[in-house]
Subunit: 199 residues, 2 copies
């Protein structure tokens, strides 16, 4: 007997690819919030129900376009546990946990691609803002007007950490014990999230 | 009359290119400190005097390999003026001044290239460490054992700032007034340079 695949059938590969291509274009052009399954389905020339059937929710479809196999929302309780105190350290610890795991390979690939491809850069921006930063900041009682600057400052530190540890591989950051980096960089992220900022 | 070029003659383009290629390989393989003009000249099959004639010092040759038209040493007095207080803010201000200038294009190109090419990544590492970070830290009375971690932490923040402002272009960091970023990020760099760190 030959082994059989189980679980949900992957569907027609051409249809899947057409939906993914349409989703990439739509998310990059309109941003995550303004993109809708309906618009993506129309761009792919398929029924919206088929998009849901293949990919589930808009969030899941978006993660498929950036090839990130992991749902940041699932990590949110860990980051937010304990409230505002130490949220910077917990965010760095969780971030390193993901990048040091097998899922980190997809993240490194996304980062490399974003550097040389404007559309992937747009998708990475949307991913950072809507799937990670906004979700954390929404729980911290920060004035809404401050969210964009705080979120993008956090992004400078986290993306820079990823760059130096996983891509450029500058020592000792490249092979440092994660907790050393958590203690060194956590306070920076804490200040960007909740501390006094200019303006 | 046809216009004539003035200044030092560029020499034989093939020889220049051979020296540059040998320098890239040597700097990437051995690092800046261990690479010597003698070894680079041998690898290029030319006399060391010719390397000096075309490129000047080892520092100048190195900057030519990474195509950075600017000597970080010239900016050092600005960063160090006033001593330890505010050195973080002055480093961020100087850094943004370079990246916002025409020289910034070469820096963005180097960063893009380093992300997808291991050898360029090695050159970028060497450049950051030997031409920028070590020079600043040497003037700050920091215990030598702490220099590598402090330097690489500064690099995570500065490279992340460059990535988000110039490559990924995440707002509001991408178009923020430089002084806003100086005030927001300066204290981070100050802490990495001179503050308490783990370990």
């Amino acid at each position: 007997m030959t082994p059989r695949r189980t679980g949900r059938r992957p569907g027609n590969p051409d249809t899947r690819q057409a939906i993914l291509a349409a989703a990439r274009t739509t998310f990059a052009e309109r941003g995550f919030d303004a993109a809708s399954i309906r618009v993506i389905a129309a761009a792919a020339g398929v029924d919206p129900a088929l998009v849901h059937h293949y990919f589930g929710s808009k969030e899941e479809l978006f993660r498929a376009t950036v090839e990130i196999p992991l749902d940041p929302a699932e990590l949110l309780p860990v980051v937010l546990a304990g409230g505002v105190d130490g949220v910077g350290e917990r965010l760095v610890r969780t971030f390193l946990g993901v990048w040091d795991s097998p899922a980190g390979k997809a993240a490194v690939a996304l980062l490399r691609s974003a550097v040389n491809n404007d559309w992937t850069a747009r998708l990475l921006r949307e991913f950072l803002v809507t799937q990670v930063l906004r979700r954390v900041l929404d729980h911290l009682d920060v004035p809404p007007a401050e969210l964009p600057l705080r979120g993008s400052l956090v992004a400078t530190q986290m993306v820079g950490l990823a760059m130096m540890r996983y891509v450029i591989r500058l020592e000792p950051v490249a092979s440092a014990d994660p907790e050393t980096l958590v203690r060194a960089i956590g306070p920076t992220v804490q200040r960007y999230l909740t501390g006094d900022l200019p303006g």
